[in-house]
């Protein structure tokens, strides 16, 4: 069943839901950075204290990420082949633009994740987290790359959250508007919080000091 078109979309929806839950939790956690060094390092310390549970969560995330990106590539290739001869003129209504760019915003997220993990995960972990942020995001070229990637992620989930409900067949005229608006609000929230951090790191020299 999972190899059918709807099966593959179900894998996208469930893995996308898990990744979105992680991203939203990550966003909420990172708001501690706005309350100063103590609050942020304290929060990061609590996360690290989880120990074995943290390892399990990380393994789960990696699993869903690989499933999500792998099936995304498969769908992308299949969908390209479904129309071998393109239209000379094609008008699109515009509402589907974010949906149509999912493979590209997704690819941007993937590239970002590699850089992001190299910056903060596979690195010298003895420096306090607040110091790592100041070092990496204090550099304008990194800050710009983070801002660009976060905007891609915001677009990705602002469509993705509604899309996953539609894919799982959880749709009702009474709740559709709510789900759609909720997804866009999550996208805006993720965009705002994660853009503010690099922006503050660049323009405010006392950030997380």
């Amino acid at each position: 069943m999972l190899t059918s078109s709807i099966g593959k979309k179900t894998v996208m929806a469930i893995s996308g839901a898990m990744l979105s839950l992680f991203l939203l939790a990550h966003m909420v956690g990172n708001t501690t950075a706005f309350f100063g060094r103590e609050a942020f390092n304290g929060y990061a310390g609590h996360i690290h204290d989880l120990g074995g549970i943290l390892k399990l969560l990380e393994a789960g995330l990696l699993f869903f990420l690989l499933a999500h990106a792998g099936v995304a590539l498969l769908l992308y290739l299949e969908n390209m082949q479904a129309r071998p001869e393109r239209y000379a003129v094609k008008k699109s209504s515009g509402s589907g633009l974010i949906a149509q760019t999912m493979p590209y915003t997704g690819l941007a997220i993937l590239i970002f994740l590699i850089v992001h993990l190299a910056n903060f995960h596979f690195t010298d972990r003895t420096t306090p987290p607040s110091e790592m942020i100041r070092e990496v995001l204090g550099r304008p070229e990194f800050a710009l790359f983070y801002i660009f990637s976060v905007l891609a992620a915001a677009l990705h989930i602002s469509h993705g959250l509604w899309s996953l409900f539609q894919t799982l067949g959880l749709s009702h005229p009474r709740y559709n508007k709510l789900i759609m608006t909720g997804g866009i609000i999550c996208g805006i929230a993720v965009g705002t919080v994660f853009v503010l951090i690099p922006v503050l790191a660049v323009i405010y020299s006392g950030f997380l000091l």
Binding site: I6, R83, A88, K90
Partner: protein
């Protein structure tokens, strides 16, 4: 009666195998009271008199109910009017000296037979795979013998408005047939007559849809915009629901 003249760029293709190309034609005076297909008839008369090969295009009822007609006009399946088949599209929606690019519905699953005429049998194969109900032979049952709530009947009839023209496939960036299959599944799943096949139908129809070479749905919503019968993507959600229910929850 006002008339207009048009420049038409029409896709000409000899058969399935030959490579196609655009040919440009200048029309004579076209009455704005004509339908789009009548305009093509006039062009074909002109081409025949000039000893040229007329443009092949699909049509049958010419009253918006059979689902045979359909081309992409300036990038829009069935042309610029909402909820209108090509045969019901009138030339009053075009202006004098307009240039119209006319292409066939393009999808790997819809091979071009000639010019604008395409082979839509893959949609029929999906219907054959599961778009039916089982009934006993014998005398016709009384109307209203089976009670059906009015809202349910309305929703089923809204889905049944699908004429199977394939505009959803043509408009979808992935050439997916999910709106068509969604309409057919919804139509039968909502009515008591469709219940005996409820758990087999989505599995069989989706399997056939996949094997015919349509793309996957990415929830882009272009299909809904192009559908001449206003079929909603709510029907795709119901198809997903019915499919997952049949695949993972059915007891059969």
């Amino acid at each position: 009666m006002s008339t207009i003249t048009l420049t038409l760029k029409i896709w000409r293709q000899q058969d399935r195998k030959t490579k196609g190309r655009f040919e440009t034609y200048e029309t004579g005076p076209i009455s704005q009271d004509m339908s789009f297909l009548e305009m093509l008839d006039v062009l074909n008369e002109q081409l025949t008199l000039e000893g040229k090969d007329p443009v092949a295009f699909d049509h049958d009822c010419r009253e918006g109910i059979c689902g045979m007609c359909g081309s992409v006009i300036n990038g829009e399946a069935h042309g610029p009017e909402k909820e209108t088949t090509l045969c019901q599209l009138h030339m009053r929606h075009f202006k004098d000296n307009d240039t119209l690019v006319i292409e066939p519905f393009r999808a790997r699953a819809f091979p071009i037979i000639k010019d604008l005429a395409i082979d839509r049998t893959p949609l029929d194969r999906i219907i054959q795979a599961g778009g039916y109900i089982s009934v006993n032979t014998g005398g016709a049952p009384d109307a209203n013998a089976i009670p059906i709530a009015a809202e349910r009947a309305e929703a089923a009839l809204d889905a049944a408005a699908c004429i199977g023209c394939g505009a959803c496939v043509a408009a979808c960036p992935n050439a997916s047939a999910m709106l068509f299959v969604g309409a057919k599944i919804t139509h039968l799943a909502l009515l008591p007559q469709g219940l005996p096949e409820r758990s087999g139908r989505p599995l069989d129809m989706v399997q056939e849809m996949d094997s015919q070479g349509f793309g996957n749905c990415s929830n882009i919503q272009e299909c809904e915009q192009a559908c001449p019968k206003g079929i909603s993507i709510q029907n795709i959600a119901r198809l997903n629901h019915e499919y997952l229910r049949a695949a993972f929850l059915s007891e059969e």
